[in-house]
Symmetry: C2
DNA sequence: CTATTTAACTTGCTTTTGGCAAGTAAAGTG
DNA sequence: CACTTTACTTGCCAAAAGCAAGTTAAATAG
């Protein structure tokens, strides 16, 4: 590739999103961080879907490299590693919630309450703010351990 | 597995979404259908990202089976196959647009204009309606060929 | 009517990635 | 000082992706 050539999809926002979480495990990990308050390697490993430990290590590294997570040693127990979502990851919340609304409508087996979708549609900003506050709460709690 | 056992992630809306478009190529195909007005095999094949023809065939089948696309023979040229987005696929627009807003903010190479993100944030409903109308326009045009 | 082209796939092969089991290293605990 | 916990790494096998070539049906050209 010369300097003037470039991959033609560079610049496409959907392709950018797909590059960062366009695979099953990154998707699930971001859900765990953003929606389930998980922060530690062991917590991700025991998630219901059953990610393999080598794949988990790879995905955490990739999410770190793409600026979605930061890696911290827990100061109270130095063998534990805390993965914190960045502002960039937190900013994905609206998109994730929109996906959840969609799934709530079309997945017959969904366990998400219909009230969630209704609340989001009626007042998305408030719903987003509520989930953001949850993330901030977990972050504040965990941040005390890593300084 | 006995009858009472079940995969514990059944019911998770994010997991459901990941199962349907939680991979690079499904992601890109849905973008092409929802945002770029593509409807034919050949159009998908020549997309900038360069999907392999066997992978494309597999993904189109999967998207059909998961109720995102319907397959139609073009009546004016019977060797052409038209893939139409279902209501379920169309309903993903808000989530895709939210992702685009996110990428517009965090991808330094984005070619999406900042005005798009601004417009969406200011009046999401109107922005969504505009893109929905685009889909409907393409559908109406193409539907004339497949009846 | 035959030959070529277009369009949508399929097949076979190689390379890459994912899944699983076991192992390791550093830190903390009894 | 042995044992456990935590976060990985390594090696092996299976599944999926990438690539090139082939196939089939329909349309078009001569």
């Amino acid at each position: 590739m010369t300097k003037t050539e470039k991959a033609p999809w560079i610049g496409c926002p959907v392709r950018y999103a797909a590059g960062i979480f366009g695979d099953k495990w990154s998707f699930v990990l971001l859900r765990d961080v953003l929606l389930h308050g998980k922060r530690y390697y062991g917590e991700f490993l025991t998630s219901d879907e059953g990610i393999a430990t080598n794949v988990l290590a790879g995905r955490l590294l990739r999410l770190e490299q793409s600026g979605m997570l930061t890696r911290h040693v827990d100061q109270h127990k130095k063998s534990k590693i805390c993965y914190m979502p960045t502002a960039k990851a937190r900013a994905l919340l609206p998109a994730f919630l929109a996906m959840m609304v969609w799934a709530t409508e079309y997945d017959k087996c969904t366990e998400a309450p219909q009230s969630f979708a209704a609340a989001f549609r009626e007042n998305p900003k408030e719903t987003i703010a509520w989930y953001e506050a949850e993330i901030d709460r977990v972050n504040a709690k965990v941040r005390a351990l890593i300084v």
